[in-house]
């Protein structure tokens, strides 16, 4: 039998989408929160808010659009009773395609847009802080700090001509006409010099005041005495101090090879273990992993305190770590980059104490991951062991390094400072280093506010859910977010099918089309659909939330699948049960 077409509902549906888009666009323009956001963010706000509002309301809009379009479709010429599903079977494929598109937007684009949306607010707040810092600095006569704060503000809001001219005036006052030699010019020169210095020169206290030939001589004597670790140590120092010395490099390679070949069966078992640990520490040191080598040699030093090699490499690792510093201005620049804010979490690296970490801000740049406004408190249920803070930090080998230096004035540096107790330098803790248990990916999810889950991708939510409890956060809200994002595409399809059924059931007669005033009341449809849709989704969220906290997340997922299968079945039955005539 030839399929009878009754027209397509998608024209009306897309008209609904278009009208909704226009409505949200206009509303976003008129409700721009100028007190919270900088004017420069008007259009980014408008586009992201329009998209988010559309996604938030797309289910009732689809339901209303489907209902209206079906209520306006013409009945097919009847020859007896034609099952309704034959009339609309081609439309079902279209609805399923729309549901797939909605799912892609919900899981793919929406979290990103939400993340950008949140960034607009945090950057605006940051910019206002810089502005007030600049004004406070001016009040106290600190013009250099004022210029820096203005520059940071302008990095966010470069279009503010008033601040531009104020900053230019101040720069002229400070540096004269040649602004190229102002802070920016000095910074780039300083950066290059600093980078060179950091990369090439070993710390002065490691060479013990010896010249390269003396270091090579000492390495040779240790090599001939069979003390390969010391031989390598001095040969490597000589090679770093004077990279042109091929003999130093050759000696270092020879010593290294001997360490690698050392036959552990020739020594006693404990010596062999100590030796193995020394070799591991040595390899770590040799590959530049100074935090790890520090820990290995610190542990060895507790075990064999008289071992001179261990003591020497422990000191060498410590000195290397002390020389590991980041430039504070890089950390300050990172504050202007998009990133996570107000992170609060447990850092579960000890069994017998709790460590709470607060990170005011975290942002990734090409130079690395930086943190600002850091606090760490370690305690037992009886007493506080340590509580310290640091203005800035940089991620380094899975740790936060608190040691920052000023590019222009080497005397100025930032470190951790104890509020109460002392920094945890006992038990092998590295000074100015905080080992982090959560990785950088997970870190950004450990925010104080619960509302920030919307910016996380679906896959990130899955990953985080199983781990987040260890960091002091409830896993239930994440489970619920996963359940909701899984639920919504089904709701989209089911409510669209319900809309089709209702529209067809209450369709206008072909011969008596609605008069034009009726079309003016079209906004009433999404309003009604919004109430129905919200109750439908809300009721399911309550059921799923209850099953999750009473039983388990898996049980909630099973119930979700069962509920959706039932709802889809009933919606299809309702649709198929309509009469075509």
């Amino acid at each position: 039998m030839r399929r009878q077409t009754v027209g397509t509902p998608f024209g009306v549906l897309f008209a609904f989408y278009l009208l909704a888009l226009l409505f949200f666009l206009v509303r976003s323009i008129f409700t721009f929160p100028s007190r919270e956001l900088l004017g420069v963010f008007l259009w980014p706000y408008v586009w992201s808010n329009t998209f988010l509002e559309l996604m938030r309301h797309v289910i009732p809009i689809t339901m209303a659009g489907a209902a209206v379009s079906y209520s306006l479709l013409s009945s097919p010429p009847t020859r007896g009773r034609t099952p309704f599903h034959r009339v609309i079977s081609s439309h079902l494929a279209g609805m399923v395609s729309l549901a797939v598109l909605y799912t892609a937007l919900l899981l793919g684009l929406q979290p990103r847009v939400h993340g950008n949306y949140e960034q607009l607010f945090s950057l605006s707040a940051q910019a206002r802080t810089y502005l007030s810092q600049a004004e406070s600095a001016l009040d106290t006569g600190d013009r250099r700090s004022a210029v820096l704060s203005y520059e940071r503000y302008l990095a966010i809001n470069g279009e503010d001509r008033d601040v531009q001219s104020r900053a230019a005036d101040l720069r002229t006052e400070l540096y004269g006409e040649d602004e190229g030699r102002g802070p920016g010019g000095q910074e780039s020169a300083g950066r290059e010099a600093g980078d060179r210095a950091r990369r090439s020169t070993p710390p002065d206290d490691l060479t013990e005041g010896l010249s390269p030939p003396e270091l090579v001589g000492r390495a040779e004597s240790f090599l001939s005495a069979g003390d390969y670790f010391s031989a390598y140590y001095y040969a490597d120092l000589a090679a770093q101090t004077d990279p042109r010395r091929a003999d130093a490099r050759r000696l270092a390679a020879q010593a290294r090879e001997m360490i690698r070949r050392f036959d552990r069966t020739a020594v006693e078992e404990q010596q062999a273990r100590v030796f193995e640990e020394k070799r591991r520490g040595f390899e770590l040191y040799n590959t530049g992993q100074y935090v790890k080598s520090y820990r290995v040699f610190h542990a060895l030093n507790q075990e064999v305190p008289r071992d001179r090699e261990v003591a020497r490499y422990l000191e060498a690792s410590r000195s290397r770590l002390a020389s590991q510093a980041f430039f504070v201005d890089e950390a300050q620049a990172a504050e202007l980059m998009p990133g996570a804010e107000k992170l609060l979490f447990l850092n579960p690296r000890h069994e017998d104490l709790w460590e709470v970490v607060y990170l005011g801000r975290m942002a990734g740049t090409p130079e690395g991951v930086y943190f600002a406004d850091i606090e760490v408190a370690g305690f037992t249920s009886q007493a506080l062991l340590y509580h310290y803070g640091a203005p800035y930090g940089k991620l380094y080998e899975g740790q936060i390094n608190f040691h920052g230096i000023d590019r222009r004035e080497p005397g100025i540096e930032t470190r951790s400072a104890a509020y109460r107790g002392s920094a945890p330098t006992q038990a092998g803790e590295v000074p100015d280093m905080l080992p982090l248990v959560p990785g950088p990916g997970l870190l950004s999810t450990l925010k104080i506010e619960r509302g920030s889950l919307e910016a996380l991708s679906f896959f990130m939510l899955w990953r985080v859910r199983s781990q987040i409890a260890a960091f002091g956060h409830l896993e239930a809200p994440i489970g619920q977010e996963i359940l909701t994002r899984t639920l919504l595409p089904f709701c989209f399809l089911v409510l669209a099918l319900v809309g089709m059924s209702v529209g067809w059931r209450f369709r206008a007669e072909s011969a008596r089309r609605p008069r034009w005033p009726g079309y003016l009341l079209v906004p009433a449809f999404p309003l009604v659909a919004m109430y129905l849709g919200s109750f439908y989704i809300g009721a399911q969220q309550v059921i799923l939330g209850f099953v999750m906290v009473r039983f388990s997340f898996l049980a909630a997922l099973i119930v979700l699948v069962g509920l959706q299968a039932l709802a889809l079945f009933l919606a299809l039955i309702a649709l198929a049960g309509q009469r075509a005539d």
Binding site: A67, V68, S71, K342, L344, F345, L346, W354, V356, Y358, E375, A377, F379, T380, S381, Q382, A383, L384, H387, G389, Y419, R420, I448, E449, R450, G472, H473, L474, A476, P477, Q480, V502, F506, R507, A508, E509, R512, P514, R515, G518, L521, A524, F525, L527, V528, M530, Y531, S534, F535, I537, G538, A539, Q541, V542, I543, G545, F546, M548, V549, R550
Partner: protein, 328 residues
């Protein structure tokens, strides 16, 4: 004449169905919210909530059942008199006397509620051990929580001068009506914390105004039931009468779907009107007239006037079997 039996049966069926659905959702939310305090307390809370939930769901269930019945009478119009009088009478009886019955039952079980109030909620309902507990902008971390005693506390206050984290070895917690009162470090703070699982059962912000209107209606019914039985019966009748009279909107135009949408919005408008008139307006008028007893009749009177108006419109201008005529 078949409508004489069919319509009340259908109405009662809808009422029971909706009552079960709404009460069930309410109880699940209560039960789930209490689960952080342990299964026994959660179950006890859900049990204590059963009758109040049933009573709170009754008015909405009756009004929604009436709307569903209107669908049926619109699609299959029967006797004008019967399909008006019978559902109206039955729904009034169910609402007014059902409410009275549930309230009486609840009063008998009041001892249970008193017992709960005396025992108080467990602090675990509001504070989770070894978790960060949000209290507005502040955050409270508790390492150990046992019978109101706190150990190993870290308090985060974003507005405090650095340090933002503060440690206290021990403290106490006491449950209040909205949140908890905690004492540590020589000071007592009232923290507006939600129950640990409450955010999972929060309502969608889109429907919050509607739920607030429904909550106001329930509050008004409870108040009038306590203060003046005639006023309670009057507003019960006014509600069902106005809702049922709004059936005229199901036939107001030649586009049936639009009629349904308009009718829904009118019914939504009734709830808003009750809140507007019963809340702000009565308060303002009370200052002028100084007779609150008479003014408490005002929402009911306005609903009655609207109901009568819509009934006249239907009788005079809207054909009862419009849909059937258009099909013919």
């Amino acid at each position: 004449m078949r409508d004489l039996l069919r319509l009340p049966a259908l109405l009662l069926f809808f009422v029971v169905l909706l009552l079960l659905l709404l009460t069930g959702i309410d109880l699940l939310a209560t039960w789930g919210t209490g689960l952080s305090a342990g299964r026994e307390e959660a179950l006890f809370l859900a049990g204590a909530r059963f009758l109040p939930a049933l009573r709170d769901s009754l008015p909405v269930s009756v009004l929604l059942a009436l709307v569903l019945l209107l669908f049926r009478t619109t699609l299959r119009p029967g006797s004008r008199l019967l399909s008006f009088v019978v559902p109206l009478a039955v729904s009034f009886v169910v609402l007014a006397f059902g409410y009275q019955g549930l309230d009486g039952l609840q009063s008998r079980l009041e001892s249970q509620r008193v017992e709960m109030a005396a025992a108080g909620y467990s602090p675990e309902r509001y504070l989770a051990e070894q978790r960060f507990n949000e209290a507005g902008e502040q955050v409270l971390y508790v390492s150990e929580l046992e019978e109101g005693a706190l150990r190993g506390i870290v308090f985060y206050d974003p507005k405090a001068r650095p340090p933002k984290l503060r440690y206290f070895p021990r403290g106490v917690v006491e449950v209040m009506e909205s949140g908890v009162r905690v004492g540590f470090g020589g000071t007592t703070r009232e923290l507006a914390v939600e129950a640990v699982y409450a955010p999972l059962f929060e309502h969608d912000p889109l429907v919050r105004p509607l739920l607030e209107d429904i909550s106001f209606l329930n509050g008004e019914l409870a108040r009038l039931f306590r203060e003046s039985r005639p006023a309670f019966f009057l507003i019960s009748f006014a509600l069902v009468f106005a809702f049922y009279a709004a059936g005229v909107f199901f036939r107001v135009s030649r586009w049936p779907l639009l009629n349904v949408a308009i009718a829904f919005l009118v019914l939504r408008g009734y709830l808003y009107l009750v809140r507007l008139v019963g809340g702000d307006m009565v308060e303002q008028l009370g200052k002028v007239f100084g007779n609150p007893t008479t003014l408490s009749y005002l929402p009911a009177l306005i609903l009655l006037i609207l109901g009568v108006l819509f009934m006249f419109v239907e009788m005079l201008f809207v054909p009862r079997d419009r849909r059937r005529r258009e099909h013919a």
